[in-house]
Amino acid sequence: MQTAAATSLDRAEWQRIVFAERPRRADLLTLPAAGGEPLRINVHRNRPFEPVAACASPFLRYAGWDASFVFSDYDDSLSFSGWRPADVELIWLDFARYRPFDRSWLEGRIRWLRNATAAPILVPAPVDGDLAVSMAGVRICPQGPIQGALGSRYLDSRTGVDLSGEACVETARHLAFVWLPPALRPRIKAIAVDLDNTLYHGVLGEDGVNGVEMTPAHAELQRRLVELQESGALLAIVSKNERADVESLFDRRRDFPLRREHFSAVSASWGPKSAGLRAAAAEMRIALEAVLFIDDNPGELAEAAAHNPGLHTLHASSPLNTVRALKLYPGLNGYTSGDADRLRAADLAAASRRAREQAASADPGEYLASLQIEIGLALDRAEDVHRLHELSMKTNQFNTGFLRLSEAQTAERIASEDCPTASIRLRDRLSDSGLVGAIFTRLAGETLHVEEIALSCRALGRQIEDVMIREALAGIAARHPEIREILFSFQAAPRNAPARQWLARFTGAEPAPGDAPGVPRIRLESRDRLPVSIVWQT
């Protein structure tokens, strides 16, 4: 089995092919096509998809999937005959064959598929397609950016495929890098960047603050990072430099598009970058699997990957190549920026301020009261479906069930009377943390099974986990007077010790895998008297 370091070096090599301005078919065919997580994709179509699929494997492999495609017959009616479950359903239509195009018909066919499976449904649509299907787990994938970039080179009437060879390659790249990742995986939360010869030309320790060069290409890279920060990605510096020099660099170089305040964590030291990354991730309260590390030195990337399994790495071979890679890197693009993304950086800054205030306060109760915490609770709120799904998919440390619910499964629970689902919002004087908690339950007679509690790390550290969860469960119990007992499922995972410890304390029983420690309903009524406001939202 290949080591993480070797994989990182291989991926650095592949970058010049998969992120090329115009990827070449012959180059793609030389990359390994197999390997990664198995992924079965059903293709429901009325036109050929094979020329796209033929060049998709290298991109999918780079994104971490070993994909297989199962093609339907050519079927304008989308009958889904012979349908079998898959990991992804792709509807690949030539919309020009429908004149006039009946949107309600297509919605009906997608609804049939939605009812048959909880798998994500992707519908690539042309630039003039009048599609806005709003069903959980259904994603309209715009082909407009591809068409716009290729212009007259997009179509090719010679072959019956309609798309040109170049358009097939670009469609395959979008499928693997832009369309599939948001449907199947959590977004990369943070980008950690090296400084010297990555964010500018030169070496800070040798050339000095005024000696390093901001080239137009490096400025473009920095502007792209600012855009990503503004769309919700956290930024961190991981550099082998003196901390004082790094602070001075961002204070004094006013020509840098990136400012010190764009970074949520700075790790500047002469130690290994793998350790710097761990420190930065801890400061940002995120797992290393949610971090993309960019460095101009493949050796540093390999060292960081070797010591941090799951870390994403990107070789900064040149600033313009890095800009292009950032526009395509799987896990960064195609995601909808929700409130949680927009609030994350401000919430992290507030966390540092809270920690300072707590350290300076002699009275924990007084400190808690000073935060003016407000907990917002809601049950079965359809508008929250995407964020609840994200919490189920993303949280690792405070996750009791690891259900990893798809958006469609989350929507199904919200619509079901048997599966009360609670949303927990949190804000205080220093920040609005947004929707930070999800509780997924199932009613069975007089028992409420709590199948998963998922809390964002940003909700932790204020000693209010008990009150948030207790109040949410009490709200469910109030709507279902038949409940006499509450049972908690627990699924052990490598990093969910905080959830296990909380559950053991809350229930008074140590959970083991598969165990369901219970608490009597009455316990919910003995509230802590904490100085927090509880607001139920409809």
Binding site: R25, A26, P51, T159, G160, S164, G165, E166, C168
Partner: protein
Amino acid sequence: MANITVNAVEPEVRRLLSLVLHRPVGESDEVSRAAEPAWDSLKHVEIVFLMEDHFGVRFSEPDLNGIESASDLARIVKTKLTRARACGTAS
């Protein structure tokens, strides 16, 4: 593939065919649509896209319909490269 010599086209065509057909294609192997089960109409499109992209040429519709073998591919590519170079338009 601007610098390829005309003599190198045929080996390069065979190398590309081995990649796309997922099997070795030797120097003297005659690879034809009729004898190659994997070379169906959609594979034909894939092969055409691959050759065009690699050699920087564009096949006409009659070219597409006339390609029945590796030799045909090499012949048409050579002709197009020679013409393009004569006109100074080779990519």
